[in-house]
Point group: C2
Chain length 318, copies 2
């Protein structure tokens, strides 16, 4: 059987594919003999078991050509990220909403309902929120990206209830430290203020240092995306949606961790210059969650922020 | 300017149109000189100010032909109801989800963002719920109708946030007593067990008598749909979605009311025969809500259930 990963050329997609190919198949994980990356760009993972198909998931015919009867499981990670979906409403709707629906409809035609893991985001939340956000809080997206992800969640849940797919929705924390270049996500700075200083580059923080973020390291998120496909369907109960565990840190605590692990010079490279557009989006996101349910389903979280910084430095030979 | 009412041939649509034409325009209500009913069926309201356009809101070209630049406000009431949307998934998706999106996209092209009132439903709720449901509880639809309404809510909210429409979402209680014939809604029995006995006809109740329902009379819902277009946009705060006030009654209390107002004979016409399909849907709906916010926005509710029964009898000369 094939495992399809949309967004397989992206940060998480490529990392997920690399991890899945480098380890034994975890007990309970769907069997697969090859992985198909479906993305606008080519998958960077160099492995004979990876087939890289390039195309636009907003196209129905393209989607139908990749969801062939031998597909046993799907990771749906392709998305237009938050900043871009806000700037280009139509693109966000076409990819994040219509693309997700088209993919689900194609999966519905498969001989067996495939396991279907969807990457959602805490950008679905907004409005007045308690300090510790419980599982049953209403979503109230304050961005089009968040609204489109929330719609995707509802679709995956209803397609699962109907037995068309065996869906699992992971609301990802903000991922820190994301390697590479800054991107159009409103959360891009959260990695930038650690990654850039450690590489000797100046970085600007666009939100107040008291801002509380809900974060996870890349390794932990990948482990949790794999776990999402492992959990037995019945254990989800009334909803397939899970707030993945993370750790709750303020920007000030992150900068302190940067200084402890990376030194005073690194810390000194971060300057503050608030950006209203980014603040408006980021301040609407929750900073801390009740993780009782997600931990009980076998999802995991990082130990502390210093460890997150150290893992990044180790990954990058720093 | 024109006021468009999709579903204008339906129970609530026709009643809304009739009410709007028979009273003075309420202060704050959008100005209009004519009302366009957009429905598969012809609008039954006989008034020169009503233009009845028949067609399918799932059709993009049709929608675009009715949302002309002189449209100042829209009531979106057309929908495939719960039982039918569960039985015919594709029809529900085409009308309740895609139709709503197409309508919003057409409204976005208008010279001025129109006031846009969307009729949602408490069928968006499900899963474990507290006895008194607060405003900020997560939706967890246990039917495709509920999922499609929840998606419509997210769309109306995001289109409003972007300034494309000035949206208002009303989650309607179950309407009792709905006149006319039983329909495919899972809640159809809630009217049937009052309406049929009062007309001397036997009726079957498919849920246990302890089932708690959140109900509203037709008159009150119409008044609230009108109020939804009157409330000043800024008063909605972080969300355009409102749980309309209702009254909380058990089926047993409804049958007691039927007996008090309609007599012992009427009560004796109701027999109990549980229906698993209907029970599964109806028991997932909440039976009581915190109405602090909705009352503060000027929405209203019925006094008590006996009054609801009496209003129905008065309407029907009984
Ligand atoms: N990284 C985070 O902090 C974070 C947080 C929450 C949620 N997520 C979600 O996780 C998923 C993966 O995130 P990421 O960080 O790897 O993002 P990314 O931007 O690195 O990867 C997304 C990939 O999707 C592809 N893509 C975009 N539009 C496409 C289209 N129309 N057709 C085909 N492919 C398309 C891009 O080419 C890219 O390779 C996304 O759905 C994202 O919304 C990420
Ligand atoms: N009555 C209730 O208890 C209740 C409760 C909650 C929500 N609602 C919602 O209120 C709205 C009105 O409800 P109602 O009780 O008047 O329902 P109704 O069934 O009497 O009216 C719906 C109307 O929509 C029309 N319609 C259906 N599909 C259409 C299509 N493809 N194109 C054009 N028109 C189409 C039907 O012809 C019908 O006239 C609906 O959106 C419903 O979901 C009703």
């Amino acid at each position: 059987m094939k495992l399809v990963v949309t967004g397989g050329a992206g940060f998480l997609g490529a990392r997920l594919i690399g991890t899945l190919l480098s380890q034994e198949r975890p007990a309970g994980f769907p069997e697969f003999t090859s992985i198909v990356s479906v993305d606008l760009a080519a998958c960077p993972v160099d492995d004979a078991r990876v087939q890289s198909v390039t195309g636009d998931i907003a196209g129905k015919a393209f989607i139908e050509s990749v969801i062939t009867p031998d597909v046993g499981a799907v990771y749906h990670l392709a998305a237009v990220v938050s900043g871009q979906a806000e700037a280009d409403f139509d693109l966000g709707m076409a990819v994040n909403m219509a693309g997700t629906l088209t993919l689900l409809e194609a999966c519905r035609k498969l001989p067996q309902p495939p396991r279907f893991v969807f990457a959602s985001s805490l950008a679905v939340f907004g409005g007045k929120l308690p300090d510790l956000v419980p599982d049953d809080i209403a979503v109230m997206p304050q961005s089009s990206y968040g609204a489109q992800k929330a719609i995707g969640e509802l679709l995956v849940n209803d397609f699962s209830r109907k037995g068309f797919v065996d869906g699992r929705v992971c609301r990802l924390p903000t991922i820190v430290v994301r390697p590479g270049k800054p991107n159009a996500a409103a959360s891009s700075f959260a990695s930038g203020i650690i990654r850039e200083p450690l590489a000797g580059v100046d970085s600007v923080c666009p939100v107040p240092t008291g801002t509380r973020l809900w974060i996870s390291s890349p390794d932990t998120v990948i482990a949790n995306l794999i776990q999402a496909a492992v959990v037995e369907a019945s254990r989800f109960g009334d909803t397939r949606t899970v707030n993945l565990p993370g750790i709750s840190v303020t920007v000030a605590e992150m900068l302190d961790g940067l200084e402890r692990v990376g030194g005073k010079d690194a810390r000194a490279r971060v300057t503050l210059a608030e950006d209203e557009r980014i603040k408006r989006i980021v301040l609407s996101w929750p900073g801390d969650f009740d993780v009782t349910r997600s931990l009980s389903l076998g999802f995991t979280r990082d130990g502390d922020f210093d460890g997150v910084v150290r893992a990044h430095m180790r990954d990058h030979g720093q």
